[in-house]
Structures are given as C-alpha cells and as structure tokens.
Subunit: 268 residues, 2 copies
C-alpha cells in the first residue's frame, strides 16, 4: 500500500468521491424502490427516537423470509434493544443506535433433523455465510423502506474483524453457529453521507472471461479510500484503521478455523 | 432424516405451506416497498420476453453499490445473455431465463493494491462471501422492484453445490475468486409460487442467549419441506435431491479448500 498520497491527490480524490452517483438509467429514475436501494448508505449517527415495535418487527420479518440454499434458512438473529445490549456487552449499542441484530450463520439448527452436509465443513460454512448475508441485506433494505437507517459492522464487540469467539461466548452459541456481523438501526441524525468510492463498472463486471484488475484504476480507488477516510477521521488514517484489524486478524483466523473445522460432526 | 412421512402428514404439511404468509404488521400493510420485499419469491419459469438494457443495467448497478466490509467491494460479476451463456456452457441459461449473473467472492482484485488480510484465508473468504452475498440480494430486490423475477442457484454448471472448480475454469478465474451462485433473471411466466415453508420466528430470533432448536418444530418444518418438494416434483423427492448434492459434496469441499488454503499468498 502506497502510504504517500499527497495533498493534491487527496483533494482530487475527495472531489471524485463527492461526484460519485448511482448510475441510474433516466428511464427508471422515478422508481421509488430503486431510489431506496440506490440511496441507501451506511449510517453511523442516529437520533434518540425509538423505532416503533411494528416497524422493527417488519425489519425482522424481512430476515426470516429471505431466500436461502434449498430453503435451509441457515441463520439465527440475536435481537437487542439498548437495555439488553447493555446487559450483554456492558455498554451502549455502537453509535448509540436504537436497536441491534447480530446476524449468525447457523448450521447447528438444521443439523438436528437433517444432515445435508456430511463432513464438508467449508462448503457448509460458505453456504451458511451466504444465506445469512442475504437475510442481512433483506433486513437492511426493509429498514430503508421504512425510513430506518443502519450500518453493518463486522467488528462488533471489540475492535477486530469477525470477533467470533468473544461473541459466541456472550451469546452462548453452539458449535456451527458463527456470528458474522452486527446490524445497528435507528433514525438518521443527519442527511445521508456521500457515496463511498465505488469501483467502476468495468472493474466489477465482466462478460465471458475474468478481466484482470487495472492497476491504475485500483490505485485511483485506493487514493479515494485514503482521502475519504482522512476527511472523516482527522486523527486517524485508513492505514491506521487497517492496522487495527490486522493486529487481531491472526486470532480471528485461529478462532474461526477452530469453530469450523474442529467441530465433532457427530456431536450435534 | 425420517423417510416415512405418511399421506396425512403430507397433506397437513401442504395445507400449512399454503397458509404461510409474511407476518406484516397491519399498520404497514400498505407500504409498497415492503410488499415487494415480502412478496419476492424464487422463480423458475420465465416468459420469452427480453429484459430491456436499462432495466438490466439498473439491476447490475444495485450489485455495484451494495455495502461491503470497509468498502472493499470483494465481488465480481460474470454477466451473460442467452447467447454468451450458450457459448460458455454449451446450453441454455437454467430455466430458460433471459439473463444470468454469476456472483463471485473476489479477494484477488483488492490484493493488487492492498493487503488487508495478511495470511488469514478463512477470515478473508468469509468476509468476501458475506459481501458478495449482500450484493446478490441487492440485485435480487432491485430486479423485483422492476418486475423482473429471479432465482439464486448454488448448483450452477452441473448438479452439485458450489461447483467452484468447473466454474473457475470456464470463467478463467484467478485464485482468490470463488464463484458462489448464479442468479438467473426473466419475466415470470406464472403467478408467484406459494411461500416455501419458513421457520417460525421463535426458532430464528432470540433475545439474549441462543435458544436451542425445538425438535418438534424442526420436524414439522422438515415434513413441510418433503411434502412441498413432492408436490412440485412428482418423480423425485426432497431426499433424492439432497442425495444428488451429497454425492458431489466431497469433491466440492476438496476443491474449495484447495482454492482457499493453497493459494500462495505472495503470488497475487
């Protein structure tokens, strides 16, 4: 990673970020649901307003009804309000949000009645993560449809990506139930932030055979990531933040391997 | 798995399936966006009508703009129409759909400029699968918002879950790019099918500590899965279908492990 991104590159990058817009065909610009999908942002500042029970119930329902591989529904959701979060984690919900859901890739439940994955733990884990993430996105969009903002955090609990051991202990999860992310919900305090720097279409879509990444495009994107982070965190940097993750990632890897591969398959 | 589900259990299960409804609070029943989210179904029968370019472009854009861990956008999308699918796979898009997208968990691209995951392949894989799945769900909902139906297939290519080696060869994927699912899109030929049997809320949500699965609830659900499958596939059974997957799952596991763990981290 190139640490030296000068002031002019930084400013140019910020201008590029602020110019970022969803590329919505003009013919579809009036579609209300598309607007919700395209205007969605990760929001980290919330008002004190409570989310009404019926609204939160509808968000949860979007998780329950998400699609999944063979309809196996390999997910569980740990649901919190401010009080129950505090009882469990001894502090406020991140960003003082109103509600939280820890999304869990759960292969334990189905295994009580069905052995779809006779000793193939990596396939099973992959499928479960995929399905639980579909459910998470469905809840995110349902929230947006109801005016509720959210952010998905992969560093719940403490700093570090996928702090699976800590969360498993706190939630008393059985083996085969892997906490993936925490979604926190609330009403947004401010106007939505600018779109984070997205890779251009010719980097993420290909037609036929894989198109190798273009170094210049990727470096332009990285400069935007660095500049965008700096604009939002004057006392830190994107690189510093990555180091925080990297310092803990060895432990996360060990914990996750233990959880996925050292499960006795007959144990249930 | 209990193979013997009698006729009366089967019929009762079918009635239960047909009674399945999204549990939408009455106060929110008129929300048009929620209706789209809750009425979404996996659709496997399409008309011959082409999806217009602007509509398909908007669906793709929903993938590009999905949220991701640290905005790393660890995804690539292989995009097909009927002709290009046939050129690649020598047959029609599954279910004679109009368009297809193979969703790829891609950790190769970012690594060209950024080493977020110094040798922690399982964490990296998990994060990439999570993000690519968020993008998939965002595309699915965007399609629904535009009247386009779809289904996510984890058995693309040939039968078998996660046929990663075959698809990687066909798409010339580098190591670190794992094909996860194929989404196929088209206009629905019939009214949407009934909701597949979803687990009740008290099985998938918990408040505080994990609630172990209730065997009776899980067996009722399994009976519905068996009966529902039988009603849709007179010549096959849910159990037969699982056996098809299970016969190939050992190979899928071996291929996926090779792909995730035997990548030389300095290779890029």
């Amino acid at each position: 990673m190139n640490k030296k991104i000068g002031l002019s590159t930084g400013l140019r990058s910020l201008v590029q970020i602020l110019r970022g817009r969803p590329q919505v065909p003009a013919s579809l610009a009036d579609n209300a649901l598309l607007q919700v999908i395209f205007n969605r942002r990760s929001v980290r500042s919330f008002t004190r307003q409570d989310i009404p029970e019926d609204v939160f119930a509808a968000i949860l329902e979007a998780g329950r009804l998400a699609p999944s591989t063979v309809n196996l529904q390999t997910w569980s959701f740990a649901v919190f309000n401010g009080d129950t979060w505090r009882q469990t984690f001894n502090r406020s919900i991140p960003f003082h949000a109103n509600r939280a859901i820890i999304v869990i890739a759960d292969t334990y439940r189905d295994r009580q009645v069905l052995d779809v994955f006779p000793y193939s733990p990596l396939v099973e884990h992959t499928v479960a993560v995929m399905n639980a993430s579909l459910a998470a996105m469905n809840m995110n969009i349902a929230a947006e449809a109801l005016g509720v903002a959210s952010v998905m955090l992969s560093e719940t609990g403490r700093t570090g990506l996928l702090d699976v051991r800590y969360l498993s202990e706190k939630l008393c999860l059985p083996k085969g139930a892997v906490p993936l992310m925490t979604m926190v919900f609330g009403y947004p305090r401010w106007a939505y932030p600018p779109m984070p720097p997205k890779l251009p279409t010719d980097q993420v879509f290909f037609y036929g055979q894989y198109v190798p990444p273009q170094r210049e495009t990727m470096e332009t994107w990285l400069a935007q990531m660095v500049a965008g982070y700096k604009a939002g965190h004057l006392r830190s940097s994107f690189e510093d933040q990555l180091k925080v993750y990297q310092n803990k990632i060895g432990q996360a890897e060990a914990d996750l391997r233990e959880m996925i591969f050292n499960r006795d398959h007959n144990e249930n």
